[in-house]
């Protein structure tokens, strides 16, 4: 089941990825390797470009610089057919679920199966039931996306992402907006998929509990750059360390993020910015950047 022949290096490799929207640099030279069978958690403040990074990984956005390798091949070099084959081997859970609103939850999950496999309807309906049961939505198969809650949409999106038994799964905030029990179930599901089926996962999350439960390694993003990549242990040590033992500015920043402290270098940074000048419009032309 696991195709090891083509995965000599890391399964996912991001090299020098850069992306600018207008005048806002969202990704600024991101480098990251994800190995087969591990759970990589990506953390960072809101709006720091985590979803944008995932979009580059699935090929729905093209980078200004750098490239992405999936299964050892650069995605930008693939032709259409190879790209289709690659896309069948990964699944993505979008931040909003991104269900097809005209199809019922069940049909949403069945969609990739109907389109990409030659299975007959009865087999597909069994698979759909299994996948929906995994996310606890079996009774809601006949509802339309508009008739279920935000958290349920997210879970339905997850069921759809795992419909084709992908080798890589990308999650954009899988447990945001879920109650603690469901959230824990989703975490368990992510762990099970990885440990039992050797799925490789990239999880974007803000929930510290969830991150420290599932992560093998953690990558901290800030202002479009990678601040630190380390094992869960390293991040746990940093979080629990005494503030006087941490001298490095970057580590202080990460420590504040992990602990969720209101005071620290992140808050300091905002105060030190040109906020006051901006308010007083001292240097209007040079400070403001109009992107059409």
């Amino acid at each position: 089941m696991i195709n090891t022949s083509e995965t000599t290096g890391p399964l996912i490799r991001i090299c020098g990825l850069a992306k600018t929207f207008g005048c806002q640099t969202v990704l600024d030279g991101v480098n990251l390797d994800v190995n087969q069978g591990e759970i990589m958690v990506i953390m960072g403040g809101s709006g720091c470009g985590k979803s944008t990074l995932l979009r580059h990984l699935i090929g729905s956005m093209l980078p200004d610089q750098g490239h992405v390798e999936l299964f050892g091949k650069r995605t930008c070099d693939l032709n259409k057919k190879q790209l289709t084959e690659t896309k069948k081997k990964f699944g993505i859970l979008f931040q909003s679920g991104a269900l097809i609103n005209s199809l019922t939850v069940g049909n949403n999950v069945a969609l990739p199966l109907r389109e990409h496999t030659a299975l007959d309807e009865s087999t597909i309906s069994i698979i759909v039931k299994i996948k929906l049961e995994l996310v606890g939505l079996r009774e809601h198969a006949d509802k339309l996306p508009a008739q279920i809650s935000g958290g349920m949409k997210k879970r339905a999106g997850l069921a759809r992402a795992i419909a084709l038994d992908p080798q890589i799964l990308f999650y954009d905030e899988p447990s945001a907006g879920l109650d603690p029990v469901t959230s824990a179930q989703i975490d368990q599901l992510i762990i099970d998929l990885t440990r039992k089926l050797h799925v490789t996962s990239v999880v974007v999350t803000h929930e510290m509990d969830s991150a420290f439960t599932i992560a093998d390694r953690i990558c901290m993003l800030d202002k479009g750059k990678v601040l630190k990549i380390g094992t869960r242990r390293e991040f746990e040590d940093l979080r629990d360390s005494d503030i006087n033992n941490v001298t490095n500015e970057t580590e202080l920043l990460i420590r504040q993020f992990l602990r969720g402290d209101a005071d620290g270098p992140i808050t300091q940074r905002i105060v030190n910015s040109d906020y006051e000048e901006d308010l007083l419009a001292v240097n209007e032309d040079s400070k403001l950047c109009w992107c059409k």
């Binding site: 729905s60 790209l83 069948k88 979008f94 097809i100 969609l111 389109e115």
Partner: protein, 280 residues
């Protein structure tokens, strides 16, 4: 005074220039986008025709019902109204020359060659075009298109093809309905004006050549294609970051560009058919 004008004119010129550039840029990107979409969807349609999968048949019938059924009453209403208006406007003039029977000819030619396809297409650019554009634009803004692409499902095959084919088929079918309704309504009006129903029918039959009927359907086919392509192109060009404003804009533009395209096409068609001597 002269100085002020000289100072102003480069700015004004630049403004006009930019406006013209913008407009022509928009025009060419629309035409180019539609041409590309046409190429891609023709390719997908031929693949679909070869495979003839059950799922795509179901999707097509769904779209045909959606596009066509709700438009039927409106087409009925519009065409019966025209069938009343035209004979009434013509009657006095023609009657002076004892040619009142020719109302049937005029009515039939107008219906089959021009107004049947044209009015059907205009009604459908509201019904089909606007709803397709709004739907696809909403799907873009809610990341649905992106999700389809991430599952390696081609939005052209999956979304554009059934909508485009359904719009074309329904425009042609509804055009036939519109032709018949206008002739029937014209006949009823004629009878009220004292014309003989048998003579009316016979004159109508003489007026409607098979060429006239077929050129009407060719027009309907092309109008349907224009509506479908413009709606799908504008709907899919909305970016997720444009939000609901983008949806509104795509819908409005679809109706406006659709009607402009249909009427321009009508003029071009009639010119071509006339110069080939097909309008006899």
């Amino acid at each position: 005074m002269k100085n002020a004008l000289a100072n102003l004119s480069p700015k004004a010129l630049a403004l006009i220039g930019r406006w013209a550039m913008n407009l022509s840029g928009q025009f060419f990107s629309l035409v180019g986008g539609i041409a590309i979409l046409f190429g891609n969807s023709s390719k997908q349609i031929s693949i679909e025709v070869i495979q003839l999968r059950k799922a795509s048949r179901i999707a097509l019938v769904d779209q045909m019902l959606r596009v066509g059924i709700r438009a039927i009453p409106i087409i009925f209403l519009v065409m019966s109204a025209i069938g009343v208006i035209l004979p009434l406007q013509m009657f006095n003039q023609l009657d002076q020359f004892g040619q009142a029977d020719q109302i049937a000819t005029i009515n039939a030619i107008a219906a089959f060659r021009e107004l049947g396809p044209l009015m059907t297409a205009i009604v459908l650019s509201g019904f089909a075009g606007a709803s397709i554009a709004a739907e696809l634009a909403t799907m873009s803004t809610s990341e649905e298109i992106e999700a389809l692409e991430s599952m390696a499902l081609d939005p052209i095959r999956f979304l554009v093809v059934p909508r485009l084919v359904a719009t074309v088929i329904m425009t042609v079918l509804l055009t036939i309905l519109a032709d018949v309704v206008m002739v029937a309504s014209g006949m009823l009006t004629g009878i009220k004006l004292g014309l003989d129903s048998d003579v009316f029918l016979q004159t109508t039959r003489l007026a409607v050549t098979s060429m006239g009927f077929i050129t009407g359907l060719i027009k309907a086919f092309v109008y349907g294609l224009l509506i479908g392509l413009i709606a799908c192109h504008l709907g899919l060009s909305v970016k997720p970051c444009q939000g609901s404003a983008g949806v509104g804009q795509a819908t409005t533009n679809t109706v406006v560009y659709g009607i402009v395209a249909i009427i321009s096409a009508a003029a071009v068609f009639t010119l071509i058919f006339y110069s080939y001597g097909w309008l006899v």
